[in-house]
């Protein structure tokens, strides 16, 4: 079994760029799923929360502490600090609490996109994966959602039961910082 790492994990990629991996509070995670007319019914329901339904599957929608990702034509995932206000229309919209199913990792630092390039087959270049975009992909054969919040900052949602394995896998790519002397440039 992989090693457990104390949080936060600090290290550098083999390019010498620093990354910090921190487990952060996920808060609430809710999935809304629908059928025909999802665009309409979901958009209506989301507006009551101050959110809107995006038309594509890469743009994250943010409002305050809440974020929405459209993960499929008929599904959205919403991260929020408080539970979503009750949405009726169970006939048209299925609501599912997934707050315990994911662990939230934040990758921060100049080495963040380099680290992700080593574990996921996606272009993490600044022009290809814009700040404010997200992607659903796989790391170490496990499905993950990656949300870019800054040039050097990514949020990862990883399944709870794979959290230890994936965190360890990510950490494996980093060399722990030594108590360092000032670097000569």
């Amino acid at each position: 079994m992989a090693k457990k790492h104390p949080s936060p994990i600090r290290g550098t990629t083999t390019d010498g760029l620093a990354v910090t991996i921190t487990e952060t509070e996920l808060g609430h995670l809710t999935q809304l799923a629908g059928w025909e007319g999802f665009d309409r019914t979901a958009d209506q329901a989301l507006r009551t929360q101050g959110l809107t339904l995006p038309s594509d599957f890469r743009s994250s929608v943010r409002r305050g502490p809440a974020t929405l990702w459209r993960t499929a034509p008929d599904r959205v995932l919403i991260r929020s600090e408080t539970p979503l206000r009750r949405v009726e229309t169970a006939v048209n919209l299925a609501i599912l609490d997934l707050s315990d199913s994911r662990v939230c990792l934040t990758l921060e630092g100049p080495g963040a996109s380099g680290l992700l390039s080593r574990v996921a087959a996606l272009d993490f270049g600044d022009a290809a994966f814009l700040v404010g975009q997200f992607a659903q992909t796989a790391i170490h054969q496990v499905s993950v959602l990656i949300d870019r919040q800054g040039i050097d900052q990514f949020t990862l949602l990883i399944p709870t039961t794979f959290a230890m394995a994936l965190t360890s896998f990510l950490a494996d790519h980093l060399t722990a910082e030594l108590v360092s002397k000032p670097m000569n440039r």
Binding site: M1, A2, A33, L98, S99, F162, D172
Partner: protein, 987 residues
């Protein structure tokens, strides 16, 4: 051969001296040297022994096409076999040793094979399969020796101490090869603003320009180009990186030798890095490799490719010999010859062609070269090194037309033309195109997203190569202006590389494939025996099948077969190349996916409690699960028996978080469940749960589980651990194709919920204590659920039994899993609550006759399992039709029974069943599916599938484990060993 380091020149750092070792000897070298150039400068003639005949061999090349100088590199855990000395960068402290020679390079017993060469011709190994004696005894006898002799170097079995990594990269244009054409392409594309990756296998950029004499005009051009490449931020230059594979959709595999050139990798750096590059387009500028000439003794140390002799001269300042004979059929060797003469060697050129371009002839003569047109080298002699070459006048077919003249020499430099390095192109697009004028195969200049430039497409001059590269990159900026020598190989080439006596034979062994020791005579033999297609030729002679993939042999072998068959080369064909272009270490491809990270490990949120409290863990697919909790040094058997008894007599707690859990939601959820389960789900009320069985379309049992109705349109389905993903995938498939009309969504919630089972006569008491809820039989009957709070955590409590005891399953929001477990443990002592693991859980359910994964592994139907009554006759469901196929209704099919094993030995799962008086041969009448020691019955029992099983209760049968070589006897009984009425779980 008297090679020496020249006093000046070379692209080496003479200000620093380093030491490398080979075969116990130390050699002085400089940064910039390869191991090969250091050994050459130090006078090491013999660098290896050939594969089959163990003939002494020296350097043939200066690059990746080297076939002979394969050495062992480093000692201990970093030891590496079959390293090409020409590709190893020399560094201080490098240790290398010879391979494939015993007791020494100088004197190798293996050379005796050379005397037996008659028996080692083409297809010799294959021939042992078919004779000369009947049967396979002779073959097996030879097999022993062949296995011992197979392979060249020896690998280490010590663990690799180094790290490797994999990285994904994306670009607009990938340029392979940083020779002049590649650099021109990179500059043009970079100036245009494209994202460029430029890949070069050498440590330095420059390609063929690095073999120009130091001080040539190309030096200035290169320096400027390097500076501009550095300045452009959109160009990533990867040196020491080989593009080894071109795959579909413009995906390329590269391997970067990050720290191969130092003693040990620095902290934080990988030894090698595997790049997977996805690009929009590719420019291949991979150059060309020179072709050897084929004549007797052409494998002797001292016989080299002319371009290699030139590289050693100009790049490494090593003059390979004092007296050099250049054997050629084209113009390209002349520049080298003149440079060698000017460096002090005595040079003779024998050119098969009668007519030699005037300028070249004049240059040669004024350099003091002895020029012999219409001549070729027929034979080379010497003892473990070239001493003399025998030159003959030849016809334009390469056949001797007169007597030979002996010319004393220590180096023979061959130039039989050039073969473009089109491997990546061929990997992608298949067969290349033969060019008669160049007597070689070429890729198409443009195909798909690939452009090929430079020597790769036979560019006629350096200027042409640069222009092609510039255009391929997008033509931006100033066109590169650099002129080369007027020595294009394709002009007036005479396409003859084989030199023979007048009768067509060679006076001695003439080699085509050096690495696999394939002779011209082997090609001829293959032809005589009918193996004339190119695919047969390759496999029958093994020509082109060594690690070098025939880089210096393919064309010559092909040309010979074409000549024998009287066909033009393109009509004989060519073989296709496959990745990798050069060998790639598996460690680089594996990167971090090994050891603890071979697969992702999946853990329950309660996992740490188990390991902290002494549980032995076991692998269940990707999961780690508690196997048993040994107390006081118990063995596994003692532990699980104790645990199972404890559950039956008191109460046990087990972590079942691994169960698959799927949220089934939507107005048509009930209809969906009704279609996938064999039993009815349409009218399941909210607050109830029901056990269900699912079939595959072909009527076999697929999975089982329990589904609870949480709300009007909300269901919670559980599946077996192993099938969770399969069930979800199946559901998605049906909903998205056949059942698009159903308004249902399925979502995995396996991670959302931790799950704990509490089982045993006291389970109700424990749970009542910890929840303060009314859990009486009336309020919470079997197959109902309710909501409770445990340790402040809202949970759902299901009453359902897998063990056959009074039992409950608690579903907990996963992140609170451990908290709830600990609350239960804390409430446990008054009731003697103890944890139990997988092994005890197995014993309990087997005693009860409950089916699990081993009974529903895809070969059994409900009827086989005695569960036919479960299926509804009122509605169709997946599998309902095909389960009624006559073959599945056959009464002889193995059916589920129990076995009481006679004796103290337990049965092994998978053992086959035979009647007592029947011989234990063949597939038998059934098999054992699950096995355990039953604590309740105090005997070894098993669940099994037996033909006509239920009709045979009371019969004693044989239980045969063919793998473990053991036979037991057992009595056939009902599989409901324990509490068949179900009193306990319904309590």
């Amino acid at each position: 051969m008297t090679a020496r380091r020249l006093l000046g020149g070379g692209r080496i750092d003479r200000s620093r001296q380093i030491t490398v070792q080979f075969d116990g000897r130390s050699f002085l070298a400089h940064p910039g040297d390869t191991l090969a150039s250091a050994l050459l400068a130090g006078g090491q003639k013999i660098l290896g022994r050939s594969f089959k005949y163990h003939r002494p061999r020296g350097l043939v090349a200066a690059g990746v096409e080297e076939t002979n100088a394969l050495v062992h590199l480093r000692d201990g855990e970093r030891h590496e076999p079959n390293a090409q000395a020409t590709m190893v960068e020399a560094f201080d402290g490098l240790r290398s040793t010879p391979q494939n020679a015993w007791p020494s390079l100088q004197f190798d017993f293996g050379a005796i094979n050379g005397l037996l060469s008659r028996f080692f011709g083409a297809g010799f190994y294959y021939k042992t399969f078919i004779g000369p004696f009947s049967g396979t005894k002779f073959w097996m006898f030879c097999e022993g020796f062949i296995r011992q002799a197979a392979g060249m170097g020896r690998a280490t079995t010590l663990a690799d101490p180094d790290q490797y990594e994999k990285i994904n990269a994306f670009c607009d244009v990938l340029i392979v090869g940083a020779g002049p054409a590649g650099i021109a392409a990179a500059l043009a594309a970079g100036r245009k603003g494209d994202n460029v990756i430029l890949v070069e296998q050498d440590r330095d950029l420059g390609g063929s320009l690095l073999s120009e004499p130091v001080g040539s005009p190309s030096d200035g051009w290169l320096a400027q180009a390097r500076a501009e490449l550095d300045d452009l931020p959109n160009i990533r230059v990867l040196t020491r990186t080989t593009a080894f594979g071109a795959y579909d959709c413009e995906v390329f595999g590269l391997v970067e030798r990050v720290q191969d050139h130092v003693l040990a990798p620095e902290r934080g750096k990988p030894r090698q890095r595997y790049w997977v590059v996805r690009t929009s387009r590719a420019v291949l500028a991979t150059g060309a490799i020179e072709r050897p000439m084929v004549f007797a003794g052409n494998d002797m140390p001292g016989v080299m490719l002319t371009s290699a002799v030139r590289s050693y001269l100009n790049r490494y300042a090593v003059l390979a010999g004092e007296r050099i004979v250049v054997a050629t059929n084209n113009d390209s060797a002349y520049t080298a010859a003149v440079e060698l003469a000017k460096s002090g060697a005595k040079v003779t050129i024998c050119d098969i062609r009668k007519e030699i371009p005037a300028q070249l002839g004049a240059n040669a003569k004024s350099a003091g070269i002895d020029l012999r047109p219409a001549h070729a080298v027929l034979k080379v002699t010497g003892c473990k090194g070239v001493k003399a070459a025998y030159l003959v006048p030849v016809s334009s077919q390469g056949k001797a037309t007169g007597g030979s003249v002996r010319v004393a020499c220590d180096i023979v430099a061959m130039s039989g033309g050039w073969a473009p390095t089109l491997h990546l192109w061929s990997q992608r697009f298949g067969k290349p195109i033969y060019s008669e004028g160049l007597d070689t195969f070429l890729p198409l200049a443009e195909k798909g997203a690939f452009t090929c430039v430079g020597s790769l497409v036979g560019s006629a001059s350096l200027r042409d190569a640069l222009q092609q590269g510039h255009k391929a990159g997008g033509g931006t900026g100033k066109e590169p202006a650099l002129f080369g020598h007027a020595d294009f190989w394709g002009r007036n080439l005479l396409p003859v590389t084989v030199v023979t006596k007048a009768d067509g034979g060679t006076p001695g062994k003439a080699f085509v494939d050096f690495q696999h020791d394939v002779k011209l005579a082997d090609i001829d033999q293959a032809y005589r025996e009918g193996y004339v297609s190119i695919e047969h030729l390759k496999r029958y002679t093994t020509s082109g099948m060594a690690a070098d993939q025939g880089k210096t042999s393919n064309l010559n072998a092909l040309a010979r077969m074409a000549e024998l068959r009287g066909l033009a080369i393109p009509n004989v064909g060519t073989t296709t190349f496959r990745p990798p272009y050069t060998p790639v270490t598996i460690g680089a491809i594996v990167a971090h996916d090994h050891g603890l990270h071979l697969r992702p490990t999946r853990l329950s949120t309660i996992h740490d409690w188990h390991t902290e409290n002494g549980a032995e863990m076991m692998d269940a697919g990707l999961w780690l699960r508690p196997w048993y909790y040994p107390e006081n040094g118990e063995s596994i058997t003692e532990a699980y028996v104790r645990e199972a008894i404890h559950v039956r007599e008191h109460v046990g707690i087990v972590d079942v978080s691994t169960l698959g859990k799927i949220a089934v939601q939507g107005p048509d959820a009930a209809e969906f469940l009704n279609r996938v389960y064999v039993n009815g789900f349409k009218t399941l009320p909210v607050g109830r749960l029901r056990y269900g069985i699912m079939l595959r379309e072909d009527g076999f049992v697929f999975d089982d589980g329990a589904t609870a109705r949480i709300g009007e349109y909300d269901y919670f389905m559980s599946t077996t651990t192993a099938n969770a993903a399969k069930v979800l995938a199946r559901a998605e498939y049906l909903l998205q194709t056949a059942w698009r009309d159903l308004k249902v969504h399925v979502t995995s919630v396996t991670d959302q919920w931790a799950a704990i089972a509490v089982a045993g006569p006291k389970s109700r008491r424990v749970l009542t204590d910890v929840t303060s809820a009314d859990l009486s039989r009336e309020v919470l009957p079997n197959n109902h659920f309710t909501y409770v709070t445990i340790g402040d955590v809202p949970c759902r409590l299901h009453r359902m039994s897998f063990s056959g005891e009074l039992a409950y399953e608690i579903y907990i929001p996963a992140k609170s899993g451990r908290k709830v477990w600990e609350a239960l443990i804390a409430a446990g002592p008054p009731h003697n609550l103890k944890p139990y693991g997988l092994e005890a859980m197995g014993a309990l359910r087997i005693e009860k006759g409950h089916i699990a994964g081993s009974e529903i592994e895809g070969r059994t139907t409900m009827k086989d399992l005695g569960l036919e009554g479960f299926a509804s006759s009122k509605k169709p469901f997946v599998g309902s039709v095909l389960r009624k196929r006559p073959v599945l209704e056959d009464p002889k099919r193995p059916s589920l029974v129990g076995l009481e094993i006679i004796g103290n030995q337990g049965a092994t799962a998978g053992s086959l069943l035979f009647a007592m008086n029947a011989p234990a041969k063949g597939h038998g009448e059934g098999w054992v599916s699950s096995t355990t020691y039953s604590p309740a019955l105090k005997k070894n029992i098993a669940l099994a599938l037996l033909s006509r099983g239920p009709e045979r209760f009371g019969e004693t049968i044989q239980v045969v484990d063919f793998v473990g070589n053991q036979t037991l006897h057992a009595k056939v009984v009902s599989h409901h060993f324990f509490d068949p009425e179900g009193h306990r779980q319904n309590g």
